[in-house]
Symmetry: C2
Subunit: 258 residues, 2 copies
Amino acid sequence: MRNHTVKQIAKLAGISVRTLHYYDRIALLCPTRSSSNNYRCYGEFELLRLQQILFYRQLGMPLLNIKKLLDAPDFDLENALKTHREKLLQQMENNQKLITTIDNTLREIKGKKTMTSMPAKDLYEGFAPQKQAEFETWLIEKNGSSIEAQIEDSKAHLAKSGTDAMQQKMIGLADIEAGLAQAMLDGVAPTTKSVMDLLDRHRNWVANMWDRECSLEAYEGLAQMYQAHPEFVARYERLAIGFSNYLPNAMQSYASKI
Amino acid sequence: MRNHTVKQIAKLAGISVRTLHYYDRIALLCPTRSSSNNYRCYGEFELLRLQQILFYRQLGMPLLNIKKLLDAPDFDLENALKTHREKLLQQMENNQKLITTIDNTLREIKGKKTMTSMPAKDLYEGFAPQKQAEFETWLIEKNGSSIEAQIEDSKAHLAKSGTDAMQQKMIGLADIEAGLAQAMLDGVAPTTKSVMDLLDRHRNWVANMWDRECSLEAYEGLAQMYQAHPEFVARYERLAIGFSNYLPNAMQSYASKI
DNA sequence: ACTTGACCCTGACGTGGCGTCAGAGTGCAT
DNA sequence: ATGCACTCTGACGCCACGTCAGGGTCAAGT
């Protein structure tokens, strides 16, 4: 990989030349200099460092803090990348929260002129306070666990269950889903107790698969996944026409009621 | 819902009192004033408007542009909320891109000291140029389609297929998955042509379910979903132990090779 | 050799979006 | 009356650049 000039790297990274000048001036990203004309030369090391800078910048971290972090003697690029991966997954969960906030707001304002039944604090659920971003990032950097280790743990848990136990679990799920599909066909409202009980079982099933508790927020996020993902839609429509809409709605009603 | 003072609303929304003062000064968010002491009073209307402000702010939109947008005579809150919902889903897709970038970078630097085989442009895949955020938002606001209409279209498409056709499609998927699982058990590398052909069929299947083309980027995002979601992991481990890892990896190799 | 256009450099002014602080007023409880 | 928590307006300052000025460099064309 050869060296790049400021314009080349600016274009690659989607930032301005001025930004690169500024980063050089604050010693955040210092390229080498051509001996003949003093042009800035960005090599492989600088490209990787810029990637890290962009990551932290996107998280809202002040540039001088980014510099301190990257300059720390024990900074580990590989571990940082893994930590970022986790952070991105968290951001996606937060986006789910925002989507829920939108849906709640839509439900409230639809055909209405007032929102007396919606608590004011729910209007801002999912907006991350800016000051927290830095703190969270530092915490994650300090205590972040390897994403690979987590995946391994998850698989070890599955392998321990064995194939027979897995079959039992899937039968349990099929039972719950069949009950819910039947309720839909019978015209049972999602807020009816019998449906709520089935959803209770469903949520416990998910928690069991996850090997951790399934919060109401996560449950709502899962409902969104079911509604948006093609394979889930296909799967639930196969159970019963309209079920791919009924189930997520029921799950969301459940999460609101509990 | 009663009126709030600056501190109350600042706390609710996770912003500073200073920010609210500033927003008042630039006429972005103008509360009413108490006649007795001239304190700012934020009612229901202001709370909703602040929600909108925070949404657009998060998207990187300059405040004065937010003001113009919210003050436009044809601004429709409900439609805006739906548009934002779409935008959030897109951001989640972009996060998937960033995760892929991380994984690619991790793969490259693992045990290595150089990255001569990774194109420089791939280092910054997923970082959204800041200037585009505004443009994209305006475009979406102008041309955004209703999320509900899209869901209805998707369901209409499914309903048109009928139950028998759906069964055929699921049989097609099972056939592809069985072939891939067998390849894994046979120790076939994911880059082998036979696996690639199966993945070609798989990707076409997904496109057919989506009723639109499945780009390579979307395909990679789907692989991430398969790897991270408990029900997919459970489902693929049921097919064959280790398949929940093999399939996403194969899909990502596929996307890299094509 | 000269010209042109795209790129490079440093330096400096300015902006958006607040954070911080000062000084004074308000409301409530003691 | 006093103290505390809140309110107000005004103003300075900072961060992260965007924009511009003026001059140098490089490569291709005439």
